[in-house]
């Protein structure tokens, strides 16, 4: 619950705005209360608390280990990366003084040499100074074979790291790797003085009492209930304006919504408000409901190793007869935006010239007829003794998706396509069933990019098929020589326009080949209390508490 003695409710005229942007609002504050332009100013000192609701539990405090979205939500406030991605997709410096680029000379022309200058005067929560040694240690820790690092993609290209001064370091890559810039936007630096020399890097006291350089400090963790952070008054950046952040675990989205309604939660995050409560939620007093687009795509992932689905005509007919509007309109109350590619429109490489999705079951039926798929005795199409039949799987307990499956099954049955539902618990579905492409088709919500970089080599590259001992997650078993070539080039080029052209073409090919059928752009309905200022959706990060340092109560 929010602090009732909140500054915003007793506006203080002595508050000095800390953001240039807000300077103009000092005058606006004199306008009659409730005027739309009145932008209350943040408090001089951290005040009040904000309770953030999540339907998953916080698990891991170490920001370089495998974790879930809630962990990321906490990390953004506890730790800092060198730079981040803002909602518009632009890099902005955090621990680095400036974002390195070809233009400012931070990255050499060949893309191999990187020189980073760090912000001065940054201190860890325990008062120790933050230095280039910490960055070097963090990079080394990821590559430590005994350490259970989350991902090594990109980091493994770094050949050598040299510390040139307390706030300056330089590294060299084995070969250029364009996605590294984005990957590093989620590279949270850990304190060398706390972690160096640990016997088991996977299990240190740091896990229970993490310290970082972020706007909030670790206060307490109550397993099964919440994690609490308190304001770091020595934070180097703007904020924090809140005294406490509470990351509340509410395992059920309906209960979470109820608690948001009763005011127990100030912000409703991960998994958000169920779509069926949206209409009611909008009518709540003193609540702001945000329908926010995410960087993911709700899609049918097809297994091209399946004897029926390997045929392109079938995939195209399926997409033509996939009534996305019935799903988004009725089941999701018209909230999601349509999608025809794996990138969100917010991504700089998004291809806006792709053919729109059409729903035309009659044409789909004709296409199948022409391709030799003739209705059999039971109405299901057959070709060369093969029935046009496949299963569709999703994780058990995902209600709307299950409803969408049933809707699809019924509409496809009408044109002679048999889709059977075969759902599995998450731990089973995402195990070998997924990794070894044992499914026929999956209905899932997929974020194709890593850290928002349009590189999808691990998703669509032919060397990324895990069933064939590939390294990535190309579980569709999609193989396309042109895509391979484009993607290989995409990671070594540094110019953004050249890269854009490459990924636009990749999207066009995927749209044509359809190894996955995009249904709609991932979205989430989040809510905040009306007085909570500073909330901003950023689909380039995994959690919207990314800028909680700048949140405050009006």
């Amino acid at each position: 619950m929010s602090d009732p003695s909140h500054p915003a409710r007793h506006p203080s005229t002595t508050t000095i705005p800390r953001r240039g942007l807000l300077l103009g609002s000092a005058a606006a504050a004199l306008a009659p209360a409730g005027a739309a332009l009145a932008q209350p100013r943040p408090p001089a000192a951290p005040r009040g608390q904000c309770v953030l609701g999540f339907s998953q539990e916080f698990t891991v405090a170490h920001p370089l280990m495998p974790a879930n979205e809630v962990d990321q939500a906490v990390w953004w406030n506890l730790f800092s990366p060198l730079w981040g991605l803002d909602p518009a997709g632009r890099f902005y410096p955090i621990l680095a003084k400036a974002v390195p680029s070809l233009e400012n000379g931070g990255i050499s022309a060949d893309g191999l040499d990187w020189r980073i200058e760090l912000r001065e005067g940054v201190r860890w929560h325990d008062g120790q100074p933050f230095t280039a040694e910490d960055v070097k240690f963090s990079l080394a820790l990821i590559m430590n074979p005994n350490f259970r690092a989350r991902g090594k993609d990109g980091y493994d290209r770094i050949e050598s790291v040299t510390v040139e001064g307390p706030q300056v370091l330089r590294w060299r890559l084995r070969q250029p790797y364009a996605p590294l810039m984005s990957i590093l936007s989620q590279f949270f630096i850990v304190p060398a003085h706390r972690l160096a020399g640990a016997e088991d890097p996977n299990n240190t006291p740091f896990h229970a009492a993490p310290i970082g350089t972020g706007p909030f400090k670790w206060a307490e963790r109550r397993t099964g209930s919440h994690v609490m952070l308190t304001a770091n008054r020595d934070y180097f950046g703007e904020g924090p304006y809140l005294e406490r952040l509470v990351f509340r675990y509410v395992p059920d989205v309906n209960v979470m919504y109820t608690q948001f309604r009763t005011g127990e939660l100030d912000y409703i995050g991960l998994l958000g408000i169920p779509a069926n409560h949206y209409a009611e939620a909008r009518t709540l007093r003193d609540r702001v409901i945000h329908v926010i687009p995410r960087g993911s795509v709700e899609n049918l992932t097809l297994n091209l190793g399946h004897p029926v689905l390997r045929e392109k005509v079938v995939r195209q007919a399926l997409y033509l007869s996939l009534d996305t509007r019935a799903i988004t309109g009725a089941l999701y109350y018209g909230l999601p935006k349509e999608a025809v590619t794996f990138l969100p429109p917010e991504n700089w490489a998004y291809n806006d010239a792709l053919p729109r999705h059409e729903y035309d079951p009659a044409r789909a039926a004709r296409m199948l007829d022409e391709a030799g798929w003739k209705p059999g005795r039971d109405g299901i199409r057959v070709k060369d003794g093969l029935r046009l039949e496949f299963t569709n799987s999703t994780t058990t307990g995902t209600e709307l998706r299950t409803q969408a499956q049933q809707l699809l099954a019924q509409s496809w049955a009408k044109i002679g396509i048999a889709m059977k539902i075969h759902n599995l618990p998450a731990a089973v579905l995402w195990g070998k069933f997924w990794a070894e492409s044992q499914f026929d088709s999956l209905m899932t919500n997929t974020t194709y990019t890593i850290a928002s970089d349009p590189n999808v080599l691990h998703r669509f590259g032919s060397h990324a098929i895990p069933k064939r001992a590939g390294y990535g997650s190309n579980v569709s078993q999609f193989e396309n020589a042109r895509v391979d070539e484009l993607l290989a080039r995409g990671v070594v080029l540094n110019g953004i326009e050249e890269r854009r052209a490459i990924y636009r073409e990749v999207q066009a090919i995927i749209r044509e080949e359809l190894p996955m059928l995009p249904i709609f752009q991932g979205m989430q309905i989040e809510g905040t209390k009306a007085g909570l200022m500073g909330f901003e959706n950023n689909l380039h990060v995994l959690a919207n508490s990314w800028n909680a340092a700048r949140w405050y109560w009006a």
């Binding site: 309906n254 169920p274 058990t396 049933q406 809707l407 539902i421 618990p425 731990a427």
Partner: protein
């Protein structure tokens, strides 16, 4: 069980220290008892008939989606009990779900009885080493609270009807095994088993022809209560998301996610829940009546 689903069994297999029920029951009570058993039998018969015939009499099928008709409340239009989030007729689904749930109940009971009786027979007949090992295994299985066991095993298998039946069966045979083992052990000491053995009958023959029929009363009662238990167990597993998957309806998976519509469409939760309660209560009534009718001495073991 749940708190619940274990309980009917728990009550049947009253523990050693449990008090012996009185036989000097008065008229009102006996009357009531039999009334309840009759009521239970009546309800189950009606349910079976309705589930068998009902779907043919309805203008809707259980899988027919009509997205324009979603969330129609009961008694408000052509859909007698309203529609679900996909606009499917709830009555049609309820009846088809009844087929599944009742079949799951009966099949799981049958399988668990076979396992339980076999283990109980063997353990009770060959006391010694074999019996010891079997009964310790039974004890160990009973150390797991049943829901924990149910969930742990449900992770092992896919959520199809057949596997759910097996799942429930393999987690609910232990009580039966105990009952049978105790009965057989007691019966074996009695004359007719000794006589049959003396006449050179084979072990299997003595077990199946001489001993088992004499233990039939508690087995029949346990079987009835086992059906009740199985129906409950199915609903628990489904509620927790490991149950029978759509579009196949079961009473349990009709309740799955009903929580999210509790405010807007409470009938989605109330109707199948009431069906489960009614069916399980009826089986429990029947079991109770059978216990009184078949063997006045049991129930107090």
């Amino acid at each position: 069980m749940s708190g619940a689903s274990e309980a009917p069994i728990g009550l049947a297999a009253a523990p050693a220290a449990a008090p012996r029920p009185r036989r000097r029951d008065g008229a009102l009570r006996r009357f009531l008892r039999h009334r309840l058993a009759a009521f239970g039998a009546g309800v189950i018969t009606l349910m079976v008939l309705a589930c068998a015939i009902g779907p043919y009499l309805l203008p809707f099928t259980d899988t027919e989606i009509d997205i324009m008709q979603r969330f129609a409340p009961p008694f408000s239009g052509p859909h007698l009990l309203g529609t679900d989030p996909l606009g499917r007729d709830i009555l049609a689904r309820l009846l088809m779900a009844g087929r599944i749930s009742l079949s799951v109940g009966f099949s799981a009971m049958a399988i668990s009885m076979v396992i339980g009786i076999t283990v109980g027979l063997v353990a009770g007949y060959y006391r010694g080493w074999v019996g010891m090992v079997l009964m310790r295994f039974v004890d160990a299985m009973l150390c797991f609270p049943s829901i924990f066991l149910l969930l742990a095993i449900s992770a092992l298998i896919g959520p199809a009807v057949g596997s759910i039946i097996m799942l429930i069966a393999v987690t609910s045979w232990m009580e039966v095994a105990r009952i049978v083992e105790a009965q057989i052990r007691a019966l074996k000491a009695r004359d007719f088993a000794v006589a049959a053995e003396a006449l050179g009958a084979s072990d299997a023959r003595v077990m199946l022809r001489e001993l088992l029929p004499n233990a039939i009363a508690p087995i029949v009662v346990a079987a009835t209560l086992n059906v009740a238990h199985a129906i409950l167990a199915e609903s628990y597993v489904s509620f927790l998301g490991y149950g029978i998957q759509p579009p196949t309806p079961s009473w349990g998976n009709m309740l799955d996610n009903a929580q999210s519509y509790l405010t807007s469409a409470p009938w989605l939760a109330i109707i199948p829940g009431a069906a489960i309660t009614l069916a399980v209560t009826s089986f429990n009534f029947i079991g109770d009546g059978l216990r009184d009718a078949l063997d006045p001495r049991m129930g107090g073991r």
